[in-house]
Structure formats: C-alpha cells, structure tokens
C-alpha cells in the first residue's frame, strides 16, 4: 500500500533529501498541519478513536514519499496522502461506500490557510502551553514540572516522590504524549509568521 504513489505529482524540490533534511521538513512544515489533518480525518472516518492512529499512518506514508524529494507544497501533498490512505483503509475494512470515496476524491482546496499554518504568537503559545499542563492529572503535571523546570532525572524524581522509577517513567511518557497532542492539535490565536529558507520557494495553490 503506497499512499503517495497514487497521486503522481509530488512536485519534489531538489535532490534526494537525507534523514536530517526530512526530519527538519517534518518538524517545520508537517507538524504545524496536524490540527487540520486530524480534523480532515475525523470528518471522513467514522471511528473517532482511530484519528490519532490514522494521523500517524499518514505521517509515516508522507515520510516514505518524501524520501525521493521534499514536496514543494506540503499542505497539498499531506492532504493527498491522507485521502489516499483513508480510501485504502476503507477498502481493506470493506466499509467503503461510493459516497465516501466520491467525497474523498477531491482534496479540500479551501483549507483555512491561516488555520493550517498557524504559528502561535509567543504569548498565545505560552497560554496554550499552560492550558496543556492544566489538562494533565496533578501527579503527571508534577512529574513533568520536576523534569522540565527543576531538571530532575527519573531517579531523582522517584526518590523525591518516594515512588518507583517505572511509575515515573510511565507518567512522564503519558505527560509527554498528552502535551504533544495538545500543543500540536489544540486551538490558539493564529498569526502568520514570515518564513525563511526553502519555504520561500513554496508555491501557493
């Protein structure tokens, strides 16, 4: 199942990128689209619990496709990969209906651009970050704070709180995942930021 093969034109820029370049592209251009892509999946998939898994499937397929060249238009590329992936999944799960496929044939062109490429203003980012911390359970929040603010490692945290290292590991991992979901998927004020480097060459649709 190659989700990128189907849409033929990726408009890749330059030579084959190495892992470092792909990672850089992924963090700078793909991750900021997470909220939009997750919403697209949620609208087109009946099982809400699958959204995070499907988002990751799309990321993996997007990385595989980017190996032969980074796409010039990341947003269009990512939505195409997502659409193809949903169709493939639906086919395999035999839950496909003609309506679903028809709906999915066209990648939404009218994505809210500001929303998609949102970069939070510093103050908004901070507020958003704190909202993410607030969402954590008090214990997980405490453990994340001990790591992030006090700089304690797992062993020191376990000693300070009088719990096992495994428990600290587990809760720190929970906090890390929950914060990522919140920070990449949550809402916030939208501001456009000026881009540098190869982003300048990106062609708007």
């Amino acid at each position: 199942m190659d989700d990128t093969a189907e849409h033929g034109r990726k408009d890749s820029a330059g030579p084959m990128p190495n892992d470092e370049a792909i990672r850089d592209w992924f963090c700078r251009e793909v991750l900021p689209l997470e909220r939009s892509i997750a919403r697209f999946i949620r609208r087109n998939w009946r099982v809400a619990d699958d959204v995070m898994d499907l988002t990751h499937d799309v990321y993996a397929a997007a990385l595989a496709g980017a190996r032969t060249g980074l796409p010039l238009n990341t947003r269009h590329y990512l939505f195409t990969v997502a659409r193809n992936h949903l169709i493939n999944r639906a086919k395999r799960a035999r839950i496909v209906s003609f309506e679903l496929v028809a709906d999915l044939q066209t990648v939404p062109q009218e994505i809210d651009l500001l929303e998609a490429e949102r970069h939070l203003h510093a103050r908004e980012a901070l507020r958003h970050f704190h909202a993410g911390l607030e969402k954590l359970s008090p214990r997980v929040r405490e453990i994340v704070s001990l790591r992030k603010i006090e700089g304690l490692n797992v062993k020191e945290t376990a000693e300070k709180l009088g719990v096992g290292k495994d428990a600290v590991n587990h809760q720190l991992a929970m906090g890390m995942k929950a914060l990522a979901d919140h920070m990449l998927g949550g809402t916030g004020k939208i501001v456009r930021r000026k881009y540098s480097g190869r982003r300048d060459r990106e062609v708007e649709p």
Partner: protein, 325 residues
C-alpha cells in the same frame, strides 16, 4: 495495540531514557536502529521529540522575568540582571493579570530571563525562545535572556554545549565569569572549572573577550576544531589546535574521553559527574596515563579496570573510592 500506538509509546520511552545519566553509546546505536526500522517509528519519535523541546522553548517564555529595557539604555555586564532582580520581577509578573502582562510585553524591547540547572550527574537538553539549543552537562547552571535585540546567556557554573540559531541581527553572547564569548558561528561548548575557562568550537567561530579590565580588553578568535583554555585572569589564553573537539564533547553522549591523561585528572573529571568521589592518594598512581572512553556515570566500571589492568589497590566506601598503588 496498533502500530502507531506502539511506536508512540516506545518513542516516549526513548526520549525519556535519552535524558538520563545512564544513557550510553550502545543505547544511541539501539535508538538509531529502532528509528531505521520504519517510517512510523521516525514519525512518532520526531513528533514527540519536537513538541517536548518546544515545551522548553515556550515554557521559558513564561517562567522567567519580563523586563522592559529603558529606551537607549546600554546594558553592560549583568548588574541589571542580578538574581534578586530576577526574583523580584518574577514575583511581579506572577502577580500581574494577563492584560497588564501584554502591556509590558508590548512593542518595546522585552527581556526574558530564565534559569536552568542540573545536579551532579545531570544532563539536560533545552530549547531557547530564539530556536537555539543548549545542552547542560553535570552540575551546571545557565541563565538565558533572549530579547528582541539581544541574546545573552550566563554560564554561572559547569559546562554547556550550544547550537546557536542563525540570526545576524541579534548577537549571541555567553558570559562566563570575567569573560565574554561572542558567537560568530554555531556549535561550541564552554566549561568553567574554577578560574579556568575551556571553549571548544565544533563548528564556526567564537570570540572570547576578557572583560575584567575595560582598558585592556584581550580578545581572541577561536575557530572550528580548536579548543581554547583560558586560565587565571592574568594569564593569556592558549589555543590547542587539532585537538579532537568531538572527544571533549563525549559527555553529550554520557561518555568521558581521555587521551593519555594523568589518573589524577581523570579522577577529577569523574568526580564532576558523581557524588561518590574518587580519591587518588599516592602521587605515583596519580601520574599513570589513561586513554579511552568510559561511561561518566559508572566510575565502578573504570575503577575495576584500574584494579584488573594496572594492579592498583581500590578501597570503596559508600561516599568514596580510594585508589592507591
């Protein structure tokens, strides 16, 4: 469990493990192998790692003090940013409502100061608000003030490795005691050891200025691949070219690298990372030359080697390891 969920869980565990003092080269190799296994692994790991670093960067915006600088004020040294001042401003900011905060942090220059520390054996990676990355070695303290026009960091204690985000309009300056390091390049580390300052440049160029005496400022430029050692304030700094800079940064991977160094110095190096202190009691043993790489957090492994390979006498107590001939 879905592949994505498994990859997410494993990625979180890798990121946590990577920040622990027990992390070794072998672990790094295992992580690389795991990442190479699938694009799902890469996606999950890069995503979590990115947002985990972002949390530092964003968190740093809020926990520090927001100090509007006076118009036209020239900031010299760090008198204006004494710890007491930070504490005071910090309290003030916490006490302020959001609307007031936004007014202070308005268009005028704002300064965000933040303190980061590690305990003995600690190792932290941080993101600064400007996108630069800092890695703190054992028992280290840095403060960072990133404003619209300036980027300043104070290395109060210990050692830090910097990867500076490129920004011509905002010079990146590190203050270390009476010396000031101005970054003209990107990757370098600074270590304070008593009066001594060691600057290792991996990539690019840095300039070190002695700021003790304004009338006789001594400057030197250190380029990539060089290590500069500045001793007492009265002594000129020396540059060692062709030293393996990568080796002196082995701590970033939890390792210590020695090239035919005296056991006395090797022990002192281990003691930076461990509460349990190594003591070399006789001068002959202290003169033995040691070469090789060792995990910083496992002095026991190193000491066993001394006993087995060099026939040295080892006496261990809960707090100390005595080494003698």
């Amino acid at each position: 469990m879905s592949q994505a969920r498994k990859a997410r869980d494993r990625a979180a565990q890798w990121i946590i493990a990577q920040e622990q003092p027990e992390w070794t080269d072998a672990d790094g190799t295992a992580l690389d192998a795991w990442l190479a296994e699938s694009d799902m692994n890469k996606a999950a790991y890069w995503r979590l790692e990115h947002s985990w670093r972002e949390a530092d960067r964003i968190g740093a915006l809020g926990r520090g003090a927001v100090i509007p600088a006076e118009k036209g004020e020239h900031r010299r040294g760090l008198g204006w940013l004494a710890p007491a001042a930070i504490a005071a401003s910090l309290t003030a900011v916490i006490g302020l409502g959001t609307s007031q905060l936004s007014r202070i942090a308005g268009p005028s220059e704002t300064v965000v100061a933040e303190r980061f520390a590690t305990a003995i054996g600690g190792h932290r990676k941080l993101g600064l608000p400007d996108g630069s990355r800092v890695e703190l070695n054992t028992a280290s303290v840095v403060r960072a003030a990133i404003s619209d026009n300036h980027r300043e960091v104070w290395l109060d204690r210990g050692e830090a490795y910097f990867e500076v985000a490129h920004d011509k309009t905002r010079p990146f300056v590190v203050h270390a005691g009476s010396r000031r390091v101005t970054v003209l390049g990107t990757k370098f580390s600074i270590q304070r050891a008593g009066d001594k300052l060691i600057v290792s440049v991996l990539d690019g160029r840095v300039r070190v200025d002695d700021t003790d005496d304004i009338r006789a400022v001594r400057s030197m430029i250190i380029t990539g691949g060089d290590i500069a050692v500045a001793r007492g304030p009265a002594e000129p700094a020396t540059v060692k070219s062709g030293e393996p800079v990568e080796d002196s940064l082995a701590w970033r991977r939890g390792m210590l690298s020695f090239d035919q160094e005296r056991l006395g110095e090797v022990a002192a190096e281990f003691n930076r990372y461990n509460a349990r202190q190594m003591i070399v009691s006789d001068p002959e043993a202290a003169d033995i030359r040691i070469g090789g790489m060792f995990p910083a957090s496992k002095p026991g492994v190193f000491v066993r080697l001394l006993r087995d390979a060099y026939g040295l006498k080892i006496e261990e107590t809960p707090d100390t390891i005595h080494i003698s001939d």
